[in-house]
């Protein structure tokens, strides 16, 4: 039942703005709603799972639950962060109150469509849901309606649509392959069970198209080009959503198809592709991070990097690799949202995004600064934070399989990116703040968000809670096709 709650609450919240007029209350209600969603998904995680599919329309196993959980965490924190953010925008006369309400509407449509992705049974509907996420978020990317944001939105929507079209093509070919063996509905479970009989050649082609299509959405290089624009121009809570979970939904879709493909043509095919794309993404992101000037763009490129890492984990495979990759999905969602919120505060404070002009954040806004620096180290894979462990697991898998070249490149790029990020952010964080600037106190809600995410970031690393471990392990089992 709570599955439906997870969908119903956002739906109600979609309608809410037309009823409630005051943005502040709207924001609070929003946050409360997503708190409930988070609790529901937590309950899903805690409850000994198994496959449930109400109405024959949904299909929810541990993998979906894991992704739902991730999405709900990020959406909750984004909603919470939005309260302050939107308030400040209104008070700065950046947006009107109606626009604020529009924001909440689109926010909810967006997250609703994201929640749909891991739930629906039919792969074509997965495609539809992902397309919907694009359309909904396009408005949020172009939210401020400036030249830059509109440009970003156009690129985002166009590039992603093209990618998505390829994904649809892949889906159709899959459908053809499965219908050849008599499965004429696009239900994932049936296709998996039928996967042995499918025409290997067809499945391979289909998978290529799926990978490129959804890969565009997931931000794999060289189809990543929309990502930095969209992430940097989007309104900041949404940037967190975009890189925190939107990419992950695309990854989810790819995973579903990967399972079928692996069953049909064996693991090697997909794992080779994954590793290649992952390394390309890592390299590209490393290069761009080193020469980056703008904070949010840098974070965007680091999302590309982390998507690369995740795919590397899936490519390396094996229980350890898959575990690491899934764990990394969660870790990256948490850490990157924290970083985006921090960047949002900093940019709001300094009124500029160019890192060469921002100095002394630690002294001008101590709380955010502290969180941001810790987040930076978490993001670059320093212990005791969680990302270190997932990256470590992935590396273990790689070396365990004896893929020395890939692992070496992985380490090299990680080190490069570490250097780049440290170089840029340490200049921003330390140094002396402009004298005219006075020290700010963050709002309560913002503080709560930071602390919430930070606790996740730190705890997941040192003490993995058992239930989460269980869910990941069983999703790994699903991925291995057991």
């Amino acid at each position: 039942m709570n599955i439906l709650l997870i969908l119903i609450i956002p739906f109600i919240l979609v309608i809410l703005p037309s009823v409630v007029k005051k943005p502040k209350t709207l924001g609070v209600l929003n946050a409360v709603g997503y708190l409930f969603v988070l609790l529901c998904s937590l309950w899903l995680v805690l409850k000994p799972g198994g496959i449930v599919s109400p109405f024959k329309f949904f299909y929810i196993d541990e993998l979906s639950v894991f992704f739902i959980f991730t999405i709900s965490i990020v959406t909750f924190s984004a909603a919470l962060f939005s309260i302050d953010y939107i308030e400040r925008d209104i008070s700065n006369l950046l947006i009107s109150r109606n626009k604020a309400r529009a924001y909440y509407t689109f926010f909810n449509i967006f997250s609703l469509s994201m929640f749909f992705v891991p739930m629906v049974k039919n792969l074509a509907l997965v495609w539809v849901a992902i397309e919907m996420t694009t359309l909904a978020s396009a408005f949020l990317v172009g939210f401020y309606n400036t030249k830059l944001s509109i440009e970003a939105a156009w690129k985002y929507i166009m590039v992603c649509s093209v990618g998505i079209i390829f994904a649809l093509f892949g889906t159709i070919v899959f459908y053809y392959a499965s219908s050849a063996v008599g499965v004429k509905n696009l239900n994932w479970a049936d296709m998996v069970s039928a996967s042995h009989g499918m025409d290997k050649n067809l499945v391979k082609i289909a998978f290529l198209f799926i990978l490129v299509g959804y890969g565009t959405k997931a931000g794999l290089a060289p189809m990543h080009t929309w990502l930095p624009d969209a992430h940097s121009q989007a309104i900041s809570p949404i940037s967190a959503l975009l890189s925190g979970v939107l990419l992950k939904t695309a990854i989810y879709a790819i995973l579903r198809f990967t399972i079928i493909t692996n069953k049909c043509v064996g693991v090697d095919f997909s794992s080779k592709l994954f590793i290649i794309f992952a390394l390309v993404s890592l390299g590209v992101s490393a290069g761009f991070i080193i020469i980056q000037k703008q904070m949010k763009r840098l974070l965007a490129y680091s999302s590309i990097e982390h998507v690369g890492v995740i795919f590397l984990g899936f490519g390396f495979g094996g229980a350890i690799g898959l575990y690491g990759a899934l764990f990394h999905v969660l870790n990256h969602a948490v850490t990157k949202s924290l970083m985006f919120f921090g960047a949002a505060n900093i940019i709001k404070k300094y009124k500029k995004d160019n890192m060469n002009m921002i100095r002394g954040v630690i002294s001008s806004m101590p709380f955010t600064g502290a969180m941001f620096i810790l987040g930076m180290f978490a993001l670059t894979g320093m212990p005791p934070f969680s990302i270190f462990f997932s990256e470590f697991l992935i590396l273990t898998a790689g070396l365990g399989r004896g893929l020395y070249l890939a692992s070496g490149l992985y380490l090299f790029f990680i080190a490069l990116i570490f250097g780049g990020i440290l170089f840029h952010f340490s200049k921003v964080l330390f140094g002396s703040k402009p004298d005219s600037m006075e020290i700010t106190k963050e709002g309560v809600s913002a503080k709560i968000v930071f602390i919430f995410l930070f606790i996740l970031m730190a705890v997941l690393g040192l003490a993995m809670p058992g239930f989460l471990n269980k869910i990941i392990v069983s999703s790994v089992a699903i991925l291995e096709g057991a």
Binding site: L125, V128, K147, A153, K155, V162, I165, L168, Y175
Partner: protein, 212 residues
């Protein structure tokens, strides 16, 4: 048999789209293509006597032949853009490229995917080439609107693929996809309006301030 005529019509139309220099002609030939698509589906429906296919065909007629082209031409009128669609490649070269793409998709179909029946292979390659041409239009035409049309052409191609390889997707999937496409076109339209408002043109090749 008659299906093939429509197929050929569809491909011809996509060629004409490639050679088109003016927005109006582009939209018109898109409408024609959709019409051919509709006819193809309609005949298939008659052949198989399936209500679902009739409904799908009806939707095709409604959306792709009537609503969307109308909407697009409205945009053209509203924003009174200058007519030409901004070519990176001149029509002749584009045409050659399109033909080459068709050939490529034919090769792909025959060499890589091995179909049961020859007819299937033919229609598959045709539809694939339509998709490719759509992509070609998206890449080599400057104006936002022409990109939208390219997108729609790709979508047409996909629809054709779906119906070619396996008599159409499951019914409700088709419906949802139609809805989706319609919504996305509307949203594209909205963005085109905004672009026009901000930049006073819809030449997206000039939208290149976001770099690095």
């Amino acid at each position: 048999m008659s299906v093939y005529i429509f197929l050929i019509g569809i491909i011809i139309m996509s060629y004409s789209m490639v050679t088109a220099k003016r927005m109006t002609s582009l939209i018109a030939s898109f409408r024609m293509q959709s019409l051919f698509l509709f006819l193809a589906t309609f005949f298939m429906a008659m052949k198989e006597k399936s209500a679902e296919l009739y409904v799908v065909a009806g939707l095709l007629l409604l959306l792709k032949v009537i609503l969307i082209p109308k909407f697009l031409s409205n945009i053209v009128k509203k924003i009174k853009m200058e007519e030409d669609i901004g070519l990176f490649l001149n029509p002749l070269v584009s045409l050659l490229a399109a033909v080459f793409l068709t050939y490529l998709s034919y090769i792909f179909t025959t060499r890589v995917i091995i179909f049961g029946s020859d007819a299937q292979a033919l229609s598959f390659s045709a539809s694939l080439s339509v998709t490719m041409i759509g992509l070609f239009i998206m890449i080599f035409r400057m104006k936002a609107l022409s990109q939208v049309i390219g997108f729609l052409v790709m979508e047409n191609g996909l629809f054709l693929v779906a119906s070619a390889v396996s008599g159409g997707m499951p019914f409700f999937v088709e419906i949802v996809i139609f809805m989706d496409v319609f919504v996305s076109v509307v949203i594209f339209g909205i963005f085109i309006y905004r672009i026009n408002k901000l930049f006073t043109h819809i030449d997206v090749s000039k939208l290149n301030t976001l770099r690095r």
